[in-house]
Symmetry: C2
Subunit: 365 residues, 2 copies
């Protein structure tokens, strides 16, 4: 929050431009904001005055002659998720540097809301769209195709959509999950819970059923589950369906399902959490069971935050490069808008496993 | 995340409407999305087919005859702040129920970015705007007046702007802060740190200087500081400028300034944190000083979160009604758009002090 500093630096106001140009404030506002009618003569005077006193014109004013609106649209599943908040900030920082404003719509992970959001952005004439899509496969993407048919480039972020040929900026979820689970195996864990898994009602009983259920989930979730299985396979640890949470992806349900995993005949000694809410749900289950980490249960989570670092003990987390994901998506989209990209690009950014103090060897029992 | 469930419920798609109407997908998309040209005859066929198979038309399509766009704009300081994320969700939930989409712009607490954001929203023809403004007083609000001049109603949220007569939805920050600090005094604390305070470079030495500095800050920050002083006054505890953080409002700076307060000759025995990042900064300072809460230092924070509840011990927090703030702002704005409000309204919503386990009596020394 730098309001004070900015205010003391005091950029020229519209009123000051109006005074310098000898016109009314409304005229200056219309000219500089790029809306409404202003006579060419007055417009010229306002722009000259703005230039003279150093008024920073906004993107809209600049766009009046180019025909593009200098606005990017962003569609995310849940703006309340700190991961998406970080990504959106990266997009808006990078696009602002290039003189583009960013407008954001949040869809609660609903495909129908995503379709409505895309229609809003088409109607609002954005120059391009970054979308973390709730679409699972090609059957769900008519709205993405519609945008492209309208000449609005689309870049996918966070999530790929199966068999859809669009530019995408993602992380390697499968490898990040594999690495995290491997680090648990390395210190001796073999009973490792996975929170959260597919949203099916019934618990898949076989590996094949599990993978089939996962493939109907979001790409990120399916990839993280594949990485978990990869790590078990590499170590020759048999997969146990009881250790994979299924059902609603909520903090409450995670808490209940982890409580179950902690009371199995051979209980979980480590939990891999694929989301922030999965981790807070897991921590609630531990407290209710009067267990502590890392002594009773080791924990690794996805998506680092300032809270994770101040927990006692601090939590080992997989950090996604949120800003960089956003910045890369913005620059890819701006290159598409400029017609500078001729072939599809796929950016896979690096994650980091931040080892803190929530992992230790399992207690001998 | 309910993608799977929604997908199995399977609302009719644009392609299915197109098939039912016997038109191309692009024609159906243009009709249902409310963009581009469609002949009246085809349009009629598409709408009839959509009605027949239960396609839920979006707001834009409905708006085509009314002239309004069924879009609300929201301007917030920082979408990455969980408080604003919660507020935005409340706004978008309430407006979606009424058939309005919500587009969001984030300004990094910068007044010039807020002005640019308002110009974007005017240009995008939103029907109304909810804004958590970085403006401190009347001198900063030409962009708000400009919106109203364009017939776009504006509702303030979270923050009032001095001497500006607009509808506002806020909490009673002063009373919430007074109550929190009073609860610390009641268990025996007299050395209570305030994090964070005014952004001045120099530490105000007197109460008068402090209040003058605060009045140049955001309304919320100034009110919280006044509530802190109220509680000290009520208890007859002298105000000590060394216990009020000044300067940049960042987690790092909070951590440094709390470290200073913990090493004063008469050190702070309790800290009142007015923001999430102020709390995480304070927790870092405690850890670096090898102090624990509540034994060495009592803590109360502003803005509850799921993390605060799973900390060990869990943190006592002031919870703001984020969803309700957003919903109330949306319904106020929609009433303004409908021309149903004739006089200004000011909604002050209740906060709740959630007592957990981060407050205890000061240790005898």
């Amino acid at each position: 929050m730098t309001t004070e500093r900015e205010r003391s630096a005091n950029p020229p106001t519209i009123s000051e431009v109006a005074a310098a140009a000898g016109v009314g404030r409304a005229t200056a506002a219309r000219t500089l904001g790029g809306y409404g009618y202003v006579s060419p003569e007055l417009r010229e005077r306002v722009l000259a005055a703005a230039d003279r006193i150093g008024y920073r014109a906004n993107a809209l004013a600049r766009s009046m002659s180019t025909g593009i609106t200098h606005t990017l649209g962003v569609i995310v599943a849940d703006i309340g998720n700190p991961f998406f908040a970080g990504v959106v900030r990266g997009i808006s920082d990078a696009s602002r540097e290039r003189g583009f404003d960013t407008i954001v719509l949040s869809t609660h992970e609903s495909l129908s809301e995503e379709i409505a959001a895309m229609n809003v952005l088409i109607d609002k004439r954005v120059d391009g769209v970054v979308v973390a899509s709730a679409a699972v496969d090609r059957a769900d993407v008519a709205h993405l195709s519609a945008a492209i048919e309208h000449g609005i480039p689309v870049v996918l972020i966070d999530r790929e959509v199966s068999h859809l040929d669009l530019d995408a900026v993602v992380i390697d979820n499968r490898e990040a999950a594999r690495e995290a689970v491997e680090s648990l195996i390395q210190v001796g864990h073999t009973r490792i819970g996975f929170v959260w898994g597919p949203t099916t009602e019934e618990r898949p009983r076989t590996r094949r059923e599990l993978l089939a259920a996962a493939s109907k989930n979001l790409w990120t979730d399916a990839e993280r589950l594949r990485g978990y299985l990869d790590a078990l396979d590499d170590a020759g640890i048999p997969f146990d369906p009881e250790l994979v949470m299924v059902g609603a992806k909520t903090e409450d349900h995670a808490s209940r399902d982890v409580a179950r995993m902690l009371t199995l005949p051979e209980r979980a000694t480590a939990i891999f959490c694929t989301e922030t809410d999965a981790m807070t749900g897991t921590l609630r289950a531990l407290r209710a069971a009067r267990m502590s980490y890392p002594d009773d249960v080791s924990l690794i989570g996805f998506d680092d935050s300032s809270w994770a670092a101040v927990m006692d003990p601090p939590l080992t987390m997989i950090a996604q490069p949120m800003s960089e994901l956003g910045e890369t998506a913005a620059s890819t989209l701006l290159a598409l808008i400029d017609g500078k990209l001729t072939s599809r690009s796929r950016h896979t950014l690096e994650t980091r496993l931040i080892a803190r103090a929530s992992v230790s060897a399992p207690q001998s029992r």
